[in-house]
């Protein structure tokens, strides 16, 4: 059960990672009408259209992570402590803090991309998206390394 939930958590996180990365790049560097490069096409999306999906994926990933965390605390953390992986536990601690803070930002993030505020080029949209992108990337990388830590660097 825990393994299935962890895999599902990872899959939702991958979708979230892609969506928020597209949106962040589009928010900061709007593309020209006919992008020619890969990077140009990558950022050539309508960023406001991603907001609903990102909120849904973020909530889904956070809830799945919150369930998996119960198994982690009982079955995995004692082993990491025994093997003195203090840095990994510290980074994971930060992940849970950052994810919670990001959760609190979701209503403001969602509103910042809604019309008519998005039409007025709401100045909070790009910074909020960037913070969420940082949190998602942090969560993904830390989660991935923690999941593989018994093989990673040992």
């Amino acid at each position: 059960m825990a393994t299935a939930l962890l895999i599902l958590h990872g899959l939702v996180a991958v979708a979230l990672l892609g969506a928020i990365t597209h949106q962040t790049l589009a928010a900061w560097t709007p593309s020209s009408a006919h992008p020619r490069s890969f990077f140009g096409r990558f950022r050539a999306v309508q960023p406001a259209g991603y907001a609903n999906a990102i909120v849904g994926l973020y909530v889904g990933a956070a809830l799945l992570g919150a369930i998996v965390y119960l198994y982690f605390k009982v079955d995995v953390q004692p082993n990491l402590e025994r093997d003195r992986h203090w840095h990994a536990l510290g980074f994971l601690d930060l992940k849970e803090d950052f994810v919670a803070i990001g959760f609190g930002l979701l209503p403001a993030y969602w509103v910042s991309w809604r019309q008519p505020f998005a039409d007025k080029r709401d100045r909070t949209a790009a910074p909020l998206t960037t913070i969420l992108a940082f949190i998602v990337w942090w969560g993904f990388l830390v989660g991935h390394v923690t999941n593989n830590i018994m093989g990673f660097g040992s």
């Binding site: 919150a66 965390y69 119960l70 198994y71 605390k73 009982v74 953390q77 004692p78 402590e81 003195r84 203090w86 840095h87 536990l89 510290g90 601690d93 930060l94 849970e96 803090d97 950052f98 919670a100 803070i101 990001g102 959760f103 609190g104 930002l105 209503p107 403001a108 993030y109 969602w110 509103v111 809604r114 019309q115 008519p116 505020f117 100045r123 909070t124 910074p127 909020l128 913070i131």
Partner: protein
Amino acid sequence: MTSSPAFRRFALAFGTAFAFIYVMARFKGLALFTVYPSLGIVLLGMHRSRDVADPVLDFLAPELFWYGWTATAILGALVIGSIAALLPAGWSHRFWPGWVWVAPVLAMMACVYLTIPWFRQ
């Protein structure tokens, strides 16, 4: 899709307050409840296993505060966000919208500070 100015006030106040209250809850130990996953119980308030049992037995009943801290922040931010939504529209001009992204950045920096003990072991 549109959203009302009242909901916008709620969202901005909620995001700012959440970041602030979460850090305060983390710093002051203000968890709404404590979860003991190995025992399958939830206790109101913040309880540490080591306060009632020998620290070497801590692994038998690891406690989880994160859910409680998050619940505290949600509750507090809901109250402040609701008050902001009920305020007259003119009041929102006194609130700099940038706080909604400055506050979480500061909160994340505070969390880094609170996590330092892990890196000193």
